[in-house]
Amino acid sequence: MTRSTSIPVLVRIDARLRAVGIHGPDLSTSLSARSSSVTLSLRDLLMLIVAAGAAYGACMGTFAYEPSRSLLMLFSAIKIPVLIVTTTVLCLPAFFVLNTAAGLRDDFSRAMRAVLSSQGAFTVTLAGLAPVVMFIYATGVNHRYALLTNGTVFLMASVVAQVVLWARYRVLIAKNPTHVAMLGCWMVLYGFVAVQMAWMLRPFVGDPAQSVSFLRDDPFTNAYVAVLKLVLQN
């Protein structure tokens, strides 16, 4: 397989993308042709998550664009990385203690790397699909359809992230099957917190009928209570 890219920036980006893919450096010791030659430090992984997340967020905020609403691009560009990183920080202590109690402390840095790599894959996928979202926006769809588009893109990125996460965890699971339970714990905790975090950080796609604001007027409500009420009132 030849890599003819010669522009330095592209070479670096290419290496980073491969590093968070399913053939990333943690996966196996054998260096196959497809495997990444670059091991990203945790700092690099974090930078990648922030950069790619912000890029998608900025595109997400361009719905019904007019110069007076350009702040929405900045808001969403901030919110996507905040959503991912803050949720991770909140769940980290529990993940650490649970791994330790399960006797898996020695694998913790690899587990964390797997988690961050999957988040990297998530944001990179989002960024890769950003042009599609912009195209759909450009066709003049309404706010509901814009939300649906973003929801679909998030779903696709989640699937990619799951694939990467399990691929990265395969070696750990082969070593000790308890890692499956830990991965389950992580996904439940992360999902539970992320839903509320996303609810608080709304709107990501500004409704043209509403004025521009960083958060909704009622950010401090509970997503689960809101959904339960909605379901039971109908």
């Binding site: 909140l90 529990a94 649970l98 330790t100 006797g103 509320q196 975090m197 209570v225 009420k229």
Partner: protein
Amino acid sequence: MSAPSMPSWLANLDDLLRGKRTARDQIASGLVLPWTVYVPLVFLLGGIYGACAGAFSLVRTMGGPHAADGIKQLLASTVKLPALFLLTLVVTFPSLYVFNALVGARLGFRATLELLLASLVVTLAVAASLGPILVFFTLSTESYAFMVMLNVALLGIAGVVGLVFLLKTLRKIADAAAMLGEVEGASGDAIFRVWVIIYGLVGVQMAWILRPFIGHPLAPFGLIRDRQGSFFAGVLENLQRLVN
């Protein structure tokens, strides 16, 4: 591999969580679970979780006329949560000891007590590590009923981890004895299983009489509420309130 700079209580906690204290070779040469370290750890870790639970009252009364109540609730919860676990142990330990003695169990009085304290430390370490999630929901939730259910769920998770630790360690103790060819002395596994249920039932009722831990935003501060009802009725009532 604990760093030399780690204070001894933290190194102790770390060893316990990593399972070094209850490793097979440790058990064979005699379990060392220092209660003088574990009791303060129960207060520290339980206090952290208690403070996170009590923060709801602080946040909800902040800036209002009852702001002082919020601070009182936070302090009360910080003390009450470790007290809940230790008092439950005090109430239920005699029965376990008697059962164990009757079947001629291997573990003596002190060893049993220290093993249970170690399980509490594991439970509360997990609970404390879930504290940031609890605080996040505290900041973003107005519903008191939701917070009650979230606390029940988080303490439930912590309890399961502590329970798994306890049963695993008992299994290892039984295995170690079997390897030494010891035939006398029951493992007491079945008794522990029954006892865990007793502990759980007493624990939830203890939690019920020590209420409030979270502090209803509209109720004035009180160290302990009037004695009435039960934990299970309370949970059901809460589920209904959640949707109203």
